[in-house]
Amino acid sequence: MVEIQYDKNLFFIQQKFADSTAALTFLSQQLITQGYAKPGYTEAILAREQVYPTGLPSAEPRVAIPHADSKLINKTTIAVATLQQPVAFHDMEEVKTTLDISMIIMLAIKEPHGQIEMLQSVVGIIQNTKLMHQIVGATSQDELYQLIMTNL
């Protein structure tokens, strides 16, 4: 099994975005610029979010887990942003509903149905409300990276 490469340069704290489209565009462009995703990932992410939104109706603070076609991924990783003000994402389960999202974990997954451990860990983080409060409150990139990495 190939070890997943996580990159501190893909972790962003206290970001300000006008809306979900701006947030999704920013993170997907970072994945492309840093070589993890292919050109076109932004369009694929935005299109997918329209049809199958990725806001999760968990306890607050809430997370969105946008992701798109594996064919557009070069290397598996995640890109993370905590938000200064929550941004509205539609609810994965009740698509007409919107949720206030405080953190985005954009998944770049090269192997469909693969990366089970990484995905389980991401879901574990999302379900850990105490940890989520720490993550959203992180005041430096190092702190955010360490909080996530020790739980992946």
């Binding site: 997918r48 968990s58 992701h67 798109a68 389960e93 009740e94 997954i109 995905l119 379900q127």
Partner: protein, 93 residues
């Protein structure tokens, strides 16, 4: 061997998590089950013959009479135990 179809938006990420959680839970309960993953749009063409359909994401398509459980709680953790129990009960009938 029970057969479970797990579907999400593109059959890549959330269905992987949900399928793994279901398999682990059922293994602990001594229920033998196999999971397959697919996209929500492909459910109507694939679901026939399965013992159970589990979805993350809104689904209103044809499920050919196959029993159906929503899997979102396995992602959020809210109500996960109840969902897993419901799945075990449906497969034990």
């Amino acid at each position: 061997m029970k057969r479970i179809l797990v579907a999400c938006g593109n059959g890549i990420a959330t269905s992987t998590v949900v399928a793994t959680k279901i398999r682990n839970y059922l293994a602990d309960k001594g229920i033998q089950a196999d999971t397959n993953q697919t996209r929500l749009t492909e459910v109507p063409g694939k679901v026939e013959g399965y013992d159970l359909l589990v979805t993350t994401g809104e689904f209103s398509g044809d499920r050919k009479g196959v029993p159906y459980v929503k899997g979102m709680s396995l992602l959020t953790g809210i109500g996960a135990d109840k969902t897993l129990q419901e799945i075990a009960d449906l497969l034990s009938d």
